[in-house]
């Protein structure tokens, strides 16, 4: 059989029936014989509709960054008090909620416990110094007789090792949702949620500690992301890395700080869009908060 002629090929290509479903990007279909593109539909592009105005943006971002960081030892103290507000049957254990509370129980004190939770705290001498470890986890809820609610969904690990020669390491990994309506600490009372890693390391008692903060944290309705913030010997005062703060619209502002840690300022971006040429962040406050948690500062 000989090859079909070009005319025949053209004719065959046209032979696709009366209606060709030739959809375009808008979902419309074309009718092959008439060239009519057919019905179309459009969806309004929401675009970038930020809620914070240019005037309030700087203050709001600063507010978010200074709202607080989750401090495990403060939470441990308050949670211990709540676990201790029951009786010998409910929740039935010291610094823990166990069998008695899995399906819910109300202690003779009027405090209600539901779920499981534990606090495991250890501090003491190690062969070369001093150690503190704290592990808290929970999938639980406590409601006091006064109706104030505490809840945990997650875990929190903290470890600190101070050596006699002055070297020290600290690591904290915070995950999940933690809240206590009766707390005297705003960030705990408003509820904290997140996924945050703080690591500190010091070679001698006199040396500048390295500090690394990475992850996300939400306090109340303020949401922050730390993109590998790092202070170290080279950058003792201002970090490298980046910071993100969420606009109420759902878009994220991001500021990447200079790689030479020369300034707490950088361009303010949302995605690929430049919002402001430069915005300066209160990185000293963030440093103080993180340092406080690591215990490099002695105020605790």
């Amino acid at each position: 059989m000989s090859s079909p002629s070009p005319a025949l090929l053209l004719a065959l290509l046209a032979c696709t029936g009366t209606t060709a479903p030739a959809g375009d990007d808008t979902g419309a279909a074309a009718t092959a014989d008439s060239g009519d593109p057919g019905p179309r539909y459009t969806v309004d592009d929401p675009g970038l509709q930020l809620q914070w105005t240019a005037e309030e943006r700087s203050d709001r971002i600063a507010d978010a960054l200074t709202a607080g960081l989750p401090d495990p030892f403060r939470v441990m103290n308050e949670l211990s008090g709540l676990y201790g507000a029951g009786d010998e049957f409910c929740p039935g254990a010291e610094n823990a909620m166990g069998e008695g509370a899995i399906l819910g129980c109300t202690a003779s004190t009027g405090t209600f416990y539901l779920g499981i939770g534990t606090i495991q705290f250890h501090e003491g001498d190690s062969p070369d110094g001093f150690e503190i470890s704290l592990y808290m986890m929970g999938d639980m809820e406590i409601v006091t007789a006064e109706g104030e609610r505490a809840a945990v969904g997650g875990h929190w690990t903290t470890f600190k090792h101070d050596r006699m020669d002055g070297a020290a390491i600290f690591e904290m990994l915070f995950e999940g949702s933690w809240s206590w309506e009766g707390s005297t600490t705003p960030w705990y009372r408003d509820g904290m949620s997140g996924w945050l890693d703080i690591i500190g390391e010091r070679e001698t008692r006199e040396s500048t500690p390295d500090l690394w903060v990475d992850g996300v944290v939400g306090v109340g309705d303020q949401y922050i992301a730390f993109y590998g913030l790092q202070w170290n010997e080279t950058c003792p005062d201002l970090p490298t890395g980046g910071v993100g703060v969420r606009d109420p619209s759902g878009h994220w502002y991001r500021v990447d700080l200079p790689e030479d840690c020369s300034s707490p300022c950088g361009p303010l971006m949302v995605g690929d869009e430049l919002i402001e040429d430069e915005i300066c962040l209160p990185m000293d406050v963030v440093h103080d908060l993180a340092s406080y948690i690591t215990g490099w500062r002695e105020e605790r």
Binding site: P4, S5, A7, L8, A11, L12, A14, C15, G17, T18, T19, P21, G23, D24, D25, T26, G27, A28, A29, G38, P39, R40, Y41, V43, D45, P46, L103, G104, L114, D139, E141, A151, G153, G154, H155, E175, G176, S177, S179, S193, G194, W195, G215, V216, V217, G218, D221, Y223, I224, A225, G244, R246, P248, S249, G250, H251, W252, V270, G271
Partner: protein, 562 residues
């Protein structure tokens, strides 16, 4: 022009096909000239199918008479059904078969929210229906279908408002079944069902999974792209227990990339729903805006919608809505649900025609529903003699009522609703018989039963008996309001009485949309008489006889199918 070319061109024209053996051709609603191997239902039976599908109840006797007198009335009747408030409930029921969100158990139980046990089924049903009610309301409010993935609110009832961060926008007493518009107060972006708890409580994830299962669910439900159906070879992939190697393979192995190249960037956009632990109300019930930026960290890939970068959940809905596959998938989804069979490649032209009508109707769901109910496939009552075997196998011309249709139709007809401990017995499988009655449980059973089975027969038998007992007691043995069904007889009427015969005829007409012939009537009278005599021939026996007759009519295939 050569003779060969002329022959080819002649073959190109789509002349009406003469398939022979009784098939006719069609160039109407199904689009194109295709052989039609089915014949439509008659007017009353079609009215019955439409009423059950769009309202969940049987047509009234007057409605049946309307279409019997004038077959052209069927379209106006259908249009009236499309405006019926009960349409919303029916859409919820149908969409549940596709979205599979109505589970019997979720990771967070009712007691986690301090709800009493008697509310367990209501709580579970409410969770599963949240995304379904959202979509149904978009349809009944004549808003474009794209709103299901872009709107900034959901719908909720009081129970959901009590346990989730929601603010109801109206008094629940003013909403159908207590459901009204509600806004989330936890900062989640506007993304319709994509931002609904109900959807993601069904499609859960884990730390290792990293929302990938949810991304696959979006591709399946919104684009009809089921990545789990793709052929995959695991020959060159590491053991799944080697997590690090598995994660590496997802980025480098060709077979893995076939899906993960677009699933992982989509999953990366969904980390506001990423829990630290499962089974926890605060972790699962509340959206976590701060975690949105974790996606690229955990999955090592920036958020994107099939190659187009997106910022995250904040613009995911827009990306879905503007994908041309979205409308096609919505069309296919609704067609399959109303045709009561899967859509396949042979339906391409019909679905394309439906899609065009959907688009021309500004993506209003009612326009699509009207178009689907116009198709030969929807209206098919039988396969014609001589139809190819695959056609006979494929076309679902006699459709079993869904458990939800049985529930609402029987309640409307008899006043009976099968409830135990606060649970609709045909709507759950913990205490009830949903899957036994042919339904889906959203988890282990994900396709509705299309043919009768033994457990189905046992279930409908019990339903029929209980409903018959209830309606006879109500209609003939009490003064508790107007009768539901037995409105033309008393316990004193006997076979041969005019009222007795009229009652039987009326019931068959209402329940089956057919006129009983003399043999049928004689059979029903004989059944009545046998039970009456066996039970002692008094009023109690007469009631038992009516229970037997009503039960038999409820178990009749003409009642149990549409």
């Amino acid at each position: 022009m050569s003779a060969t070319l002329l022959l080819w061109l002649a073959a190109c024209t789509v002349d009406p096909v003469d398939p022979g053996d009784g098939a006719v051709t069609d160039s109407g609603a199904d689009g194109g000239q295709t052989p039609v191997w089915t014949e439509p239902l008659d007017g009353p039976r079609l009215a019955r199918r439409l009423s059950l599908d769009l309202r969940g109840v049987l047509p009234t006797a007057d409605e049946l008479a309307r279409v019997e007198a004038d077959a052209a009335e069927i379209d106006s009747l259908r249009d009236e059904y499309l405006q019926d408030p009960r349409l919303e409930r029916q859409l919820v029921s149908f969409l549940a078969e596709r979205f599979l969100t109505r589970l019997d158990e979720y990771q967070v139980d009712h007691y986690d929210y301090h709800l009493p046990d008697e509310l367990e089924c209501h709580y579970e049903r409410s969770i599963g229906e949240e995304p379904l009610r959202l979509m149904a309301r978009v349809v009944v409010e004549d808003r474009p279908w794209t709103d299901i993935v872009t709107q900034g609110h959901t719908v909720a009832n009081q129970t959901l408002a009590d346990v989730w961060p929601l603010e109801l926008q109206a008094d629940p007493d003013d909403g159908l079944d207590g459901w009204v518009d509600a806004v989330w107060t936890d900062g989640r972006p506007d993304a319709g069902v994509l931002a609904s708890n109900g959807l993601w409580w069904r499609y859960v994830t884990s730390k290792a999974n990293g929302n990938r299962s949810r991304a696959a669910a979006i591709a399946n439900l919104m684009l009809c792209d089921d990545v789990l159906a793709r052929p995959v070879s695991f020959a060159d992939t590491p053991a799944l227990t080697d997590e690090a190697a598995t994660q590496e393979a997802l980025r480098t192995n060709d077979y893995c990339l076939g899906c993960h190249a677009h699933i992982d960037p989509l999953a990366s956009a969904m980390f506001g729903f990423y829990p630290s632990i499962d089974y926890n109300p605060d972790e699962l019930g509340i959206y976590h805006p701060e975690r949105e930026s974790l996606g690229p960290v955990v999955l090592d890939v920036q958020p994107a919608w099939f190659g187009t970068p997106i910022e995250g959940m904040v613009d995911l809905g827009y990306a879905v809505a503007t994908d041309p596959r979205f409308v096609r998938c919505g069309t296919e989804t609704m067609a399959a649900l109303l045709w009561r069979r899967p859509v396949d490649v042979d339906d391409f032209t019909t679905v394309e025609s439906l899609r065009q009508q959907f688009l021309a109707g500004d993506l209003q769901g009612r326009v699509l529903l009207a178009a689907i109910t116009d198709t030969d496939t929807y209206r098919a009552g039988a396969v014609v003699d001589g139809a190819p075997e695959d056609v006979a196998e494929r076309e679902n011309t006699r459709r079993m009522l869904t458990p939800d249709q049985l529930t609402t139709a029987v309640e409307d007809l008899t006043g009976f609703r099968w409830v135990q401990d606060g649970c609709d017995q045909l709507a759950n499988d913990d205490l009830g018989f949903r899957t036994l009655a042919g339904g889906v449980d959203g988890d282990m059973v994900v396709t509705p039963q299309q043919d009768p089975g033994l457990t189905w027969a046992l279930t409908v038998k019990r339903l029929a008996q209980a409903a018959a007992l209830h309606v006879v007691e109500h209609d003939l043995q009490s003064d508790d309001g107007a009768p539901f069904l037995l409105d033309g007889v008393t316990l004193s009427d006997r076979p041969g009485d005019a009222a007795f015969g009229a009652q039987l005829e009326g019931m068959v007409w209402r329940m089956h949309a057919t006129h009983p012939d003399a043999d049928r009537l004689a059979g029903l009278e004989a059944l009545w008489q046998a039970v009456y005599e066996a039970d002692g021939s008094d009023d109690t026996a007469a009631a038992a006889a009516w229970v037997a007759v009503v039960s038999a009519l409820l178990r009749d295939p003409d009642f149990l199918t549409a």
